[in-house]
């Protein structure tokens, strides 16, 4: 009891000491100063009425919003910085790379902001060009892997589908010239980079599948396709030549003047990719690469088999027929002339199909190509006829068609076939094909003087 009393006293001693701190206070003068200031403040800022309260509340809400923005501004700035930086870094990413997805997503994002079909179509064509450039870079760096090619092809397919849809929209909006221009740009992109694809397709089935996809869905530039498959055909014949047979390449090349010109162009196209980059002038390239060795040329193209070629030509034929018949602004004389010439392509296709049925691949190949070549020519003439329907251009197109028709001699294919067949000397039942085809051929030759 005594102890607790002492303890309490001691505690009180501490408390007492601490209470001395109450003497720490403002001086009278300071207290007056603060009092005066606060009275004045209260006078200047009286109690709010209802209206003022509402205004104040609004202001507070607004300032709370401002404070929120101020608070998150640095975070937002950081976010923008990183996203922007990431996209900038991703700009150079290649397929298969970690940032490639960011790059393609940012492209989609950018496109989604536009509602202008023309801009979108041009952008898609530009994206296709980018994809092709990426393929080129991949090859140069030697970084081609299954994954990177799959990614690239997937993106390209998407771009192509989008472009196709956009061009259709443009056509539907009667913007034929624009659609034509953009498609031309796309075709020249493919043309510039075709060697890249051909060399990739040798090692990867995805690229081959992609090329077939492009051919079926969009249609490759005719000289590319012709060159490619022609190259294939040449390679086939060259291999046979090595086995002791006559090389039919010379036959193909010397058939007539036009074909020789075509062969020159084909050789030009198969020239090195770098040169193709530097100049879009195909004639210049043709001259430059005439000196290319045959082995280089033969390395080109194993991308299409006969079946694919057949279905592609079939698609192109039916598309072309539809377009010639459906073209609204086409001069009737021109339409008749085009349809007349179109019949020729159709006939060649039928012959090719027959040859394919009899498993005579090289003949079928040549005939398919001839048919395709005519079809593609017709398509460009049709475009010209639709977009420049002046009397001058119509007469020049008619003249060209007339010349082409006169130059054609259907018997040349028969001769070619017989020549090849004679040279092979019974390689695989030659008589059978001749018997089946003889009647039809003679009908065809009767039509011509």
């Amino acid at each position: 009891m005594k102890h607790s009393k002492t303890n309490k006293n001691k505690k009180d001693a501490l408390k007492e000491k601490l209470t001395l701190l109450r003497r720490v206070s403002m001086s009278e003068e300071e207290k007056d100063r603060m009092g005066t200031f606060l009275s004045r403040y209260v006078e200047l800022h009286p109690v709010l009425g209802e209206q003022e309260r509402a205004i104040k509340e609004r202001k507070e809400r607004y300032s709370a919003f401002n404070a929120l923005i101020r608070r998150f501004t640095p975070a937002f700035a950081m976010l923008v910085f990183f996203v922007w930086g990431g996209i900038a870094l991703a700009g150079t990413a290649l397929p298969g790379g970690a940032l490639y997805g960011v790059k393609t997503t940012s492209e989609d994002f950018r496109e989604s902001f536009s509602f202008n079909t023309e801009w979108k179509a041009r952008f898609e064509a530009e994206l296709i060009n980018r994809r092709l450039n990426e393929a080129h870079q991949l090859l140069e760096q030697g970084g081609v892997s299954e994954r990177s090619i799959e990614e690239l092809v997937r993106e390209l397919e998407e771009n192509l589908e989008d472009l196709d849809a956009l061009l259709e929209t443009l056509e539907a909006e009667d913007e034929h010239l624009l659609a034509f221009e953009i498609e031309k740009a796309f075709r020249s992109s493919i043309n510039m980079y075709k060697d890249v694809f051909v060399s990739m397709s040798e090692t990867n089935k995805h690229v081959e599948a992609f090329l077939i996809h492009v051919a079926l869905q969009f249609g490759l530039p005719n000289n590319y396709f012709a060159m490619d498959t022609q190259g294939n055909s040449l390679a086939l014949e060259r291999r046979r030549g090595d086995e002791g047979e006559v090389n039919t390449m010379s036959l193909l090349a010397e058939e007539d003047g036009a074909d020789t010109a075509q062969t020159e162009e084909l050789q030009g196209v198969s020239g090195d990719t770098l040169r193709a980059h530097e100049s879009s002038d195909m004639q210049m390239m043709a001259v430059d690469s005439n000196e290319k060795s045959e082995s280089e040329m033969l390395g080109v193209g194993s991308a299409f088999d006969l079946e694919t070629l057949s279905s592609y030509v079939s698609v192109r034929i039916s598309e072309t027929e539809r377009e010639i018949e459906g073209a609204r602004r086409l001069d009737e004389r021109l339409r008749d002339a085009l349809l007349l010439r179109f019949e020729k392509a159709q006939r060649l296709y039928e012959e090719a199909a027959l040859a394919e049925e009899f498993q005579d691949e090289s003949i079928a190949h040549s005939l398919f190509l001839e048919s395709l070549s005519i079809v593609e020519d017709l398509r460009s003439l049709l475009q010209m006829g639709v977009h420049k329907p002046s009397e001058l251009s119509i007469s020049s197109i008619l003249k060209k068609l007339e010349n082409e028709g006169a130059k054609e001699d259907p018997s040349s294919f028969l001769e070619l076939e017989e020549e090849v067949r004679g040279i092979r000397k019974g390689a695989d039942e030659p008589g059978r094909f001749n018997e089946e085809q003889g009647e039809e051929r003679s009908e065809g030759s009767n039509e011509k003087p």
Partner: protein, 170 residues
């Protein structure tokens, strides 16, 4: 909703009752008399701005004032990172003992002020509110945004430390 006169009256009463306490609290926190004065004045300005809307009532004005003061002091600390006792003394530390001419008391008071400054801020603020201002632990907890349990523990430790510093035996 309270009438304007009532609001003003409550404010004046709060000022009369707690202005010195708030000043002290600020003083022991920032160890600067002028700064403490400004902070105390600003605390009452904030109280007025809060009250004058008329639609918000404060249950515990005293605890509310400490809360405002504490927040203002935290802002002040952010502006100036340290308020050391040394800096305070170099700047001319002086405790006014208005109306008290007792030399012995003045010496004692200075001793306690120094002792308080030797305490950690955590213990100083609870000791001040409990033993100088006489706030119950519940109000201290409310003012400092702590739990009562934490307040009790801190008070206990503060007492022990002060005993050592002021040489008051148990």
């Amino acid at each position: 909703m309270k009438r304007a006169e009532d609001i003003e009256k409550s404010f004046n009463e709060a000022y009369e009752a707690y202005s010195d306490a708030i000043f002290r609290f600020c003083f022991f926190k920032v160890s600067d008399k002028e700064k403490a004065f400004d902070l105390a004045q600003e605390t009452f300005v904030r109280l007025w701005n809060y009250s004058r809307t008329g639609d918000r009532e404060v249950d515990n004005v005293r605890a509310f004032l400490y809360k405002i003061a504490r927040n203002l002091i935290i802002d002040e600390y952010r502006k100036k990172s340290t308020y050391s006792l040394d800096a305070l003394r170099e700047g001319g530390f002086d405790v006014r003992m208005d109306g008290h001419k007792d030399i012995e008391l003045e010496v004692d008071a200075r001793e306690v002020v120094d002792a308080m400054h030797l305490l950690d801020d955590l213990y100083r603020e609870v000791a001040l509110l409990r033993f100088v201002e006489g706030l119950p632990p519940k109000d201290i907890a409310e003012s400092l945004s702590l739990t009562e349990n934490v307040v009790s523990v801190r008070l206990n430790r503060a007492v022990k430390k002060l005993r050592v510093i002021l040489k008051v035996e148990e």
